[in-house]
């Protein structure tokens, strides 16, 4: 009898057609022109909105996602001669110039409105449409600083102050996008960034492998960690109900773009999709779905965001062209500083 149950379970599962075959697109999709967009893996959009877009535009949408913003860029470059997608969303200002230099995009021809202020400086004829933005900031555990009676740090310089020794956890810039943003910010902000990183590491700064490790294992406010200062986003405090806040003097700008591939099968479909990304309906979902701020300044932020997710008015800005030229060298140099320090 004992053997009957598992055998039955296996047989039933097998016969019930439990298979990924049910993933196949709906039959009626074939009747429509389709548009394929490559996105980063944080892309989320409510099902209803996609359906509405499909009905309005007549295109059926497929999204593919190879990973984070860096993986999206790599994959586009790898399939340069033979792109498998029509458009891309999720290229950020740290890889924008690199993609533009590859000459794979064509103009998006979309009215940007208030998004205009976020465009890449060199992109004068409109290859990359800004879709959302945010800031990478050091977050702090408010309660911890209250309990210790310690004035929180305010700037990048403060982080090397002995008062804040062993309090800060950041993330590896070679493996995480906030880490890269922070490294670029220190380079923009400091005269001798390698010296600064020496001091930062000497001051007991920890470098975690990725954002989740830093935030959920090392940060005092979200995990069982030991570090009341963590590298995160200006939007993160909105999820922590006042337990954390951003240190505005450490914030640096992050913008995400969409573009149309010149050699894609359906550039018009990709243009229509970018228009959809800039529509009020989609822009309104950005905070909830992707933890980013809308580029459309007429869109109102949700309540917790208005209260907790403050943006620095004057963030550390990034020169996209300089990042594209020096990124690899910076990362190699940083690795050397870091490895020499830890060995």
């Amino acid at each position: 009898m004992k053997k009957v149950l598992p055998l039955t379970v296996a047989a039933v599962l097998g016969l019930a057609g439990c298979s990924v075959a049910d993933q196949a697109p709906d039959a009626d999709d074939d009747a429509q022109a389709s548009v394929t967009i490559m996105t980063h893996d944080s892309f989320n959009v409510p099902e209803e909105l996609v359906t509405a877009f499909e009905e309005d535009s007549g295109y059926s949408v497929t999204t593919t996602s190879p990973g984070d913003a860096g993986a999206v860029l790599n994959q586009l470059i790898l399939q340069q001669d033979n792109p498998t997608v029509d458009g891309v969303y999720g290229i950020d200002n740290y890889s924008a110039e690199t993609l533009l230099a590859e000459d794979m995009l064509t103009t998006h021809d979309v009215q940007l409105g208030s998004a205009e202020e976020f465009t890449v400086a060199s992109d004068t004829d409109g290859h990359l449409a800004p879709i959302d933005h945010g800031q990478v900031c050091v977050n702090m555990d408010n309660e911890w600083f209250d309990d210790q009676g310690l004035t929180p740090p305010e700037t990048l310089d403060d982080l090397t102050d002995p008062d804040y020794e062993g309090l800060f956890v950041t993330t590896d810039p070679t493996a995480s996008s906030p880490g890269l943003a922070f490294l670029v910010a220190t380079i923009a902000d400091q005269d001798d960034w390698q010296r600064y990183w020496q001091d930062l590491l000497d001051n007991g700064t920890k470098v975690a492998g990725g954002w989740s490790d830093a935030y959920y294992s090392d940060f005092t406010a979200a995990g069982d960690g030991e570090y009341p200062l963590v590298l995160s986003y200006s939007s993160s405090p909105s999820a922590e109900e006042g337990r954390t806040s951003s240190i505005l003097g450490t914030c640096t700008q992050q913008v995400e773009y969409a573009g149309v591939l010149a050699d894609g099968a359906n550039p018009d479909g990709a243009r229509a999709f970018i228009e959809f990304l800039l529509s009020t309906e989609f822009q309104e979902t950005l905070p909830e779905e992707m933890y980013m701020y809308p580029v459309d300044d007429s869109v109102e932020l949700p309540e917790e965001w208005a209260t907790y997710a403050e943006l620095a008015e004057d963030p550390i800005t990034v020169d996209e062209a300089e990042v594209a030229d020096n990124r690899d060298q910076w990362l190699t140099d940083w690795t050397e500083v870091y490895e020499n320090h830890s060995s």
Binding site: A10, D22, S42, P46, N74, L78, D213, A222, A239
Partner: protein, 548 residues
């Protein structure tokens, strides 16, 4: 099976491996060793291989992998005896506990280990957090079951009478073990230790979540060079080094196995009641189960039950069914992701079973011709490569080869079970081989002499062994697919996420609910996988003719 049948089997295996492994990986490596004009350019090999850092990385990889392998064997072999050869109340539960780590997403295990070893954790005083030791401990956590399972699978079928005879002739327990049991187990120990070594030497997210001590490993370096720098030529050098690691360890394990491959007298699974004399293996096993496996899992379960206000409850578990997580309003719930995972894993298991049974049969066939025997050895090495090749190479490889060839196919999601089947393949083949090798060829000969057709010999002699091994292999393949993250994250379509990918997405967002849900989902994943493995062990024919 006739000659034609074998030919077809070999053709099928080669086609599968060529399309779903050799092509993608070859496409990536080719980009690595050619310059922009497409001409062969190996100059990077010289540059990278003369850099001190490269050898630091290789050395560090070796030390960690050896540490993980030795540790897993030290705990795994006694556990194989206790869990598969002896009988006592609660044995099944204990056994299923050891199986769970295998499928837990490494990111979650990282969280569990850090909760335990971190400065505020119960073992924080050891100062192991974020050291090489912590990584090795986590490797042991993952791999004890692999050794216990493979060694135990063979051990339980060894004929006890040989040992009894030795004992009655005056051999001590230790002597009987060393001269009789250990040699009989060597193929399984060698095969599983080789696998563990490969797993450990290619561990990626484990090393990363536990803090990437030192310079990292070959695998983290391949990721860095590919993902961060898109420097495929440097990545190709490190991939080549990884392949050297794989070949070396496969060669070693084969030699180990080769010397000792003997047809064993296999029996119905044989268990004896546990006795006082078993205190040593029992205490080692209990230490392994309680301290190395249960404690981190306990801290995982405990944190998944925390309700955020200092109390405990099922809050996070309720969210799994009802909430797509904050920031996920358009996404699926964890329950839906689990459904996707189960379906994909079922497909992957079917594919993997068909291919690996064929491979195992081809590999264990005794052939007379030197040429054929050489070919077997090559195939044997080749099927291990998927374990030693970085998942970023496989993932990107799929994208630049098959996906580029037919984008529609890539977007349909069919690659996910295929890639998972490739990943599980070496493990599943390795679990089938020791049992099939142990079939006494004289039985086949005898049957043939008595007039049985090749098909009938196969059915009546090999068949029963195969069936017994298939349940095990199915459970293994199913749970590997269920927990697979690396290749899946590259290939899964965004609206058809698997549970491990979903968990990692939850963990990449702030908010207590997201974190709690991720942990609760990890617990569910572990439980489901353990059930699958246990069911797999039970699927086997009621009676197997005694072979002696």
């Amino acid at each position: 099976m006739t000659r034609l049948g074998w030919g077809a089997a070999v053709a099928l295996i080669l086609t599968f491996l060529t399309i779903f492994f050799a092509w993608p990986v070859g496409a990536m490596l080719l980009r690595g060793i050619t310059d922009d004009a497409g001409a062969l350019d190996l100059s990077r090999f010289g540059e990278v291989l003369t850099t001190g850092r490269t050898w630091d990385i290789a050395g560090h990889t070796l030390v960690m992998a050896l540490g993980g392998t030795i540790g897993s064997a030290l705990f795994g072999i006694p556990a194989a005896y206790i869990l598969y050869r002896t009988d006592f109340p609660g044995r099944t539960i204990l056994r299923s506990i050891t199986l769970v780590p295998f499928v837990l997403p490494t990111v979650v295990v990282g969280v569990a280990f850090r909760a335990l070893l971190g400065p505020n954790g119960p073992l924080g005083f050891l100062g192991l957090d974020q050291t090489t030791w912590a990584v090795i401990a986590a490797m042991v956590f993952f791999n004890i079951s692999l050794i216990a399972r493979q060694v135990g699978g063979l051990w339980q079928m060894l004929d006890p009478r040989t040992v009894e005879a030795a004992r009655s002739l005056g051999a001590s327990r230790a002597r009987a073990f060393c001269t009789i049991t250990l040699p009989a187990l060597t193929p399984a120990i060698g095969a599983s230790a080789g696998l563990v070594f490969l797993y450990c030497s290619t561990a990626y997210s484990l090393v990363r979540t536990l803090g990437t001590p030192g310079v990292g490993t070959l695998e983290t370096e391949v990721f860095r060079q590919t993902q961060t720098f898109l420097d495929l030529r440097t990545a190709a050098v490190f991939s080549a080094l990884q392949v050297v690691f794989v070949l070396a360890s496969v060669w070693l394990t084969q030699r180990l196995a080769h010397h000792t491959t003997t047809a064993l007298r296999l029996q119905q699974p044989h268990r004896q009641n546990i006795t006082r004399a078993d205190w040593l293996p029992l205490s080692v096993t209990m230490f392994a189960v309680v301290v190395i496996i249960l404690w981190p899992m306990f801290s995982l379960v405990e944190r998944s039950l925390a309700d955020g206000d200092g109390g405990y409850g099922l809050h996070n578990y309720r969210l799994l069914v009802t909430s797509p997580g904050t920031g996920f309003a358009g996404g699926a719930t964890a329950a839906q992701a689990l459904e996707h995972s189960l379906k994909i894993a079922l497909d992957a298991t079917m594919i993997c079973l068909v291919v690996s049974i064929l491979i195992a049969l081809v590999l264990t066939r005794r052939v007379k011709s030197r040429l054929l025997s050489r070919a077997q050895q090559w195939l044997d090495v080749f099927i291990m490569l998927p374990m030693g090749v970085s998942s970023v190479t496989i993932g990107f490889g799929f994208l630049v080869s098959i996906h580029a060839w037919d984008p529609g196919l890539g977007q349909s999601g069919v690659f996910v079970p295929l890639a998972q089947a490739v990943v599980a393949l070496p493990l599943v083949v390795r679990s089938l081989i020791p049992i099939l090798t142990a079939v006494d060829p004289r039985q086949r000969h005898a049957a043939a002499v008595l007039g049985a057709s090749p098909a009938r010999v196969f059915r009546t002699i090999d068949g029963p062994y195969l069936l017994r091994a298939v349940g095990l292999a199915a459970g293994l393949s199913f749970s590997v697919s269920l927990g697979e993250f690396g290749a899946t994250s590259f290939l899964a379509s965004p609206d058809y996420q698997t549970l491990p990918v979903y968990i990692v997405r939850l963990l990449s967002r702030p908010g207590a609910d997201n974190f709690g849900m991720a942990l609760a989902a990890a617990v569910v994943l572990g439980v489901v996988a353990a059930i699958a493995l246990l069911l797999g062990e039970r699927i086997r024919p009621r009676t197997i003719r005694s072979t002696s």
